[in-house]
Symmetry: C2
Subunit: 713 residues, 2 copies
């Protein structure tokens, strides 16, 4: 992994041994000094009130049901698995309910169930359903054991004062200390891993160390099992996030990894404020939380690059924790409150109180989505993500340009990929992961075989494919060796541009992609310009897919789709999953395709630098998918069968819409016409087009960062 090699050693030395810190319970998300205020707050502030109502109702439900602590037996989704999962949620909810209501019955539940666990835990061997190297004792994978402890220790902390000292002794001696032994010794490899499983392990150990007042555990958690800073929490913070707060596996996993990071940070902040953990690496945690939010479209969904579940939004619990802490403990930006309102809940905590009070006081401002470059890698120089946005949060055009590093096993082979959104919809889409999460009947809810054969392959993305292969031939180790390089990023009002290059995805081929949102006076929406240049000393086939959503309603060429005997387009690198519906030769090398997407018309006008041999292939997904695991997807592919140098230029515009209720169509015809590549070489790409009767010339100067792109009329 390239992030490991570029380890940034930050001189941040912590002295723990013998250091005393204040010991009060509770002391993590909710602290003793704030309990009275939170108790008041749940009666005053609507968001806190409704959030507490849910917690209390769950806690009350827990008290009604039989207390079950079964010997671990089942895998994910099975009976014992779900029982132990439910128990930690109950413990947390009862802890909160005890603190807020003061009713000792909730604390009694926690005491009783933890005594049950204490009576059983030491008898449990490694889980019978474990896979090699990652088994837990309660759960089939140790990750779930860590998560169990992160939640449970918070519940214990909240009930602490109400549990008999002798019971506390039993619980600690026969449950938590054995768990700590397991997490730090048996699971040492994971504890020392720079990986999100390791983060959960560390957070569990560190938080338990604070609550039980065992500084030894805290120091191991922060500085690694060898206490030398090479592993542990700080090493993870250094290596897993870029200076811009980007997590190397992408937004879906960034959200997931965030929770143990922020919750343990909150514990450190409370117990050892002198460590200024929230200021570490220039407020890295605040950046990570903010960057997570910037990595969403205005509908709240994370950009689904890499192995991502597409419906995931910032409403997820991890982001509620992250946002509450970011606002309350790091930087109270009023636009975070906008997101909190959309999350429609808060954590019942010191932070949740602040958020709910601020919202009730009318302090929320619309979230500030901004166009930006987010650097990847520990140093921030391993490529990154470009985000261009135009328009208000209600109706925003948004382009994501992916020129990030490979970043471990969940990352796809999609160098220089783009995603495009408008009118609240995906316009050019990413497939995300081939996975029906938690749906047992679909490969046990895990990644499906098609995640490797399809979703990770280059052709599944809106980026160039050379010779019907995948970038790095889909080899992770090779891919992790190199990263793309940023050429230019500018976000002026009327021309926003991002450009990056990659020389290694395909041996001997130099790829340079430049995309821009260009606002021209008189048009409501910006135009999406895309200039994709491939250069090589040898001849190659260059394919550029556009994975569109909606229905194709017009094209400059006559479509003659296959009527029967539909064939797969290829045999490997994802091409085996494509049905070739139609193949069209474009004699002029120019043309357009119009798609109707959620009642909006999008026309992509395209032009090739080598006109003669251009083809457009219309494909749909589903070949060689015996279990029918793949979901419907359609693309048009600009294809150059044989060329050394090839530049694909396209302009995608939203030029009109249809109102099916009123049965009225407006702006059905594209505004951009006569798109032409005037010249394309290593230094310059020059393009012309007509728009509403005016002629425009667009020049990209790859060697001049200051005047990278120029539009003249």
């Amino acid at each position: 992994m390239n992030c490991l090699k570029k380890l940034v050693l930050v001189p941040f030395c912590l002295i723990f041994i013998g250091q005393a810190y204040t010991q009060e319970h509770p002391g993590i998300m909710m602290t003793k000094k704030n309990v009275a205020a939170i108790r008041k707050g749940v009666n005053i502030y609507p968001l806190l009130k409704s959030a507490y109502a849910k917690v209390k109702s769950s806690a009350d439900q827990a008290l009604k049901e039989p207390m079950l602590v079964p010997a671990p037996a089942d895998g994910g989704g099975g009976y014992t698995h779900e029982a132990h999962k439910k128990n930690y949620t109950n413990i947390l909810n009862c802890g909160i309910a005890y603190q807020i209501s003061g009713d000792r019955k909730y604390a009694a539940y926690i005491s009783a169930i933890l005594l049950k666990y204490a009576a059983e835990y030491e008898k449990w061997p490694l889980h019978p359903k474990r896979k090699e190297g990652e088994g837990g004792r309660m759960f089939w994978q140790s990750l779930n054991d860590f998560v169990w402890q992160v939640y449970t220790i918070q519940g214990y902390d909240m009930a602490y004062d109400a549990i008999q000292p002798k019971d506390r002794q039993t619980i600690e001696k026969h449950l938590f200390i054995p768990i700590m032994d397991f997490f730090t010794k048996d699971c040492k490899e994971t504890f020392d891993k720079i990986h999100n499983h390791g983060t959960w392990d560390i957070a569990a150990v560190g938080m338990t160390g604070y609550v039980l007042h065992k500084p030894e555990y805290v120091e191991m958690a922060i500085n690694g099992s060898d206490k030398n800073g090479k592993t542990g929490y700080l090493a993870q913070l250094n290596q897993l996030f870029s200076p811009d707060g980007y997590y190397t596996e992408g937004p879906y996993y960034q959200r997931y990894a965030l929770l143990p990071f922020v919750i343990f940070a909150k514990a450190i902040y409370n117990y050892q404020p002198e460590l200024h953990i929230f200021n570490y690496r220039n407020q890295l945690l605040a950046k990570a939380i903010n960057t997570s939010l910037q990595l969403t479209y205005t509908n709240g969904a994370f950009f689904p690059i890499n192995d991502a579940i597409k419906d995931k939004t910032y409403e997820s619990t991890e982001m509620v924790y992250g946002l509450d802490i970011a606002y309350a403990d790091i930087n109270p930006q009023p636009d975070l409150l906008d997101i909190a309102e959309r999350q429609n809940t808060v954590i019942i905590s010191d932070a949740g109180l602040k958020i709910a009070a601020a919202i009730a006081a009318g302090k929320a401002k619309p979230f500030k989505y901004t166009s930006q470059w987010i650097g990847d890698g520990a140093s921030g120089n391993d490529g990154g993500l470009g985000i261009l946005r135009y328009g208000s949060n209600d109706d925003q055009q948004c382009l994501l340009f992916k020129a990030a590093a490979q970043g471990m096993g969940h990352v796809h082979f999609d160098r220089l990929n783009i995603l495009y959104y408008d009118h609240g919809q995906e316009v050019l889409a990413d497939y995300g992961a081939a996975r029906f999460i938690n749906i047992e009947t679909k490969g046990g809810g895990g990644y499906l075989p098609e995640n490797n054969t399809w979703a990770k392959q280059t052709v599944a993305h809106n980026t160039i494919v050379v010779d019907q292969s995948s970038a790095f031939k889909a080899n992770l180790k090779d891919a992790a060796t190199y990263h793309p390089d940023l050429l230019a990023f500018k976000a002026n009002a009327n021309i926003q541009v991002v450009s990056a290059a990659d020389d290694h995805a395909y041996p001997g081929v130099k790829l340079v992609r430049t995309t821009a949102l260009i606002k021209i006076e008189g048009l409501k929406k910006a135009l999406l310009l895309d200039v994709f240049k491939a250069s090589s000393a040898e001849q190659h086939q260059y394919d550029l897919p556009f994975w569109y959503k909606g229905n194709l309603v017009d094209a400059s060429f006559k479509i003659e789709a296959a009527k029967d005997n539909l064939k797969a387009l290829g045999t490997q690198y994802g091409y085996q999953h494509l049905w070739l519906n139609s193949q069209n030769s474009i004699a002029s090398g120019k043309g357009y395709v119009t798609v109707l997407n959620a009642n909006n018309f999008y026309t992509t006008s395209f032009a090739s630098s080598i006109p003669a041999a251009l083809e457009v292939k219309l494909v749909s997904l589903g070949a060689n998918d015996p279990q029918m695991n793949l979901v419907d997807s359609k693309a048009f592919i600009l294809s150059q069968p044989k060329a050394k140098n090839q530049t694909f230029v396209s302009i995608t515009e939203n030029h009109g819409s249809t109102d099916p209720v009123a049965e009225v169509v407006t702006g059905a015809a594209a505004d951009v016409t006569e798109l032409t590549v005037l010249g394309a070489n290593d230094q310059l790409t020059t393009v012309s087009f007509k728009l509403k009767g005016k002629q425009y010339t667009l020049r990209i100067n790859y060697t001049d960062k200051n005047n990278f792109i120029q539009l003249t009329q």
Copy 2:
């Protein structure tokens, strides 16, 4: 057409000649005596205020733009077409703006533009782009000319008092009278047709007759060109609607046809209240409006049976007119106000004032969707539609059972078809029309060739197909000769059932379908039971498609989908458009299919009366579609290759859901198991199944209407 043959002659004699009626302007949607109140109302009632703001803004825009009255030249969507369409909207808006603001500039616009028309109209020959027999003079089809006049005469009526008498004389003599001549003489065939084009013609002529005080036109409009009641408005009301207010072409066209019916009725009501037009045929118009609303799902969309555009909702203008008049002039049901709120507008009119005032007074109640049988045909006995609903308007299960008559050319060959909705979504869907309405690039925006080859064919629907053919071999004349017959309809609280039979769709085959929503204690949702029985003395292939929305996530059989060389399933009757993805033999004749639809799990458990040879075919749409006109659709087909008598039984249940944000799945497994056909003959079908450990027996007794369906445990 069978509706014509069964003409109900209602003894409703109107005497017009020489009868004087009050002549005041305006006198149609807005009447002189109410103008002052509406003027006040637009300042007081939010809905009237916002509706007027839109009208006035459009009127102001009209005054700013050049007044264009081009000689007709272009077809639908072309320049002159759009210019004349825009003019009638402007005339209506300016009429309203004049009445409400009192500003004569709006009336001056109307006067000026109508004088322009008067100077030109008589010179215009039949439209150059006309098709045989239906050409207009302003537009390529006369229908648009009628629509033009329906709107324009209202604008003229509203500006009447402000137009100079000599100008009125010019406008009437050189525009409206020539138009009347054209509509009643040149277009006599359409005028006398029992068809929605005829309705528009009649409404235009009748309304103009009232406004110009020419009773001759009014009488022709009401009683037909021969004034004998065999044609004209009343004849249309008698023949096009069933006594339950169902329009023979289905909801999509019902909505469209409704506007000229209600607006002309309103004119009759104002000018000749003694005719009690709204009481005609037991308040038929009120029923037609109410029935239109009952023919929607809770998301506002009309059931898309027959040639329907699927996004059409009750927010369309026609339904705003209809609803306003139904509430204001016929029956002020408070639940109509719920729909008005969802429409979020009213007509600036006497009726709109009442609605807006009632809503402002908080009188709205939730719209009462009710389970009901709606008879088809002039007598109401030509089959019909069964609607079963369970649950609140927020989360309603809804089944539409189509056992209606053929009803003219827009009707599909889908005897005994069902549509099923839940959680605001289509679960078992109808394709609707193969048409991208108004999208010029898709067959000029009209019906595509695939409307005949696919959308109308039986296999495109959730109903049985015999021998891979279509009902009546898709011959309209044959289909119109027969209608299905209702066997039973009951809508008790816990078992709602509808059953109908058809003996003619396939010669020698008797089809009986029974569907029910069955609420069992302990389940949140009702079960959808479907029992489809086909009987014949000869052997046939029986196919029963389920056109589902969403993704197939589980099945009782192992799916082995075609990996390459995908083949069309057949060569005609729509089968040529189906890709056969997978064909599975079900040795036991029993099984299930689970679909994930908008995060909800639906399992269809099925069982066949002849177990051995049952097959399940998984198909998707798109073969033999060279222009790629068809939109993505998927089905599983229960197929019995050879049998005389075959009963397909299925239970479809929503048993759980997935929350992709919280990544939690609940109720992933179906509750119904061991569905078995115990017996199936002409008199009885007996079925058993298990649910949550209990055994249930379900008996359908076709000969006992009172105990048609019985469930025992």
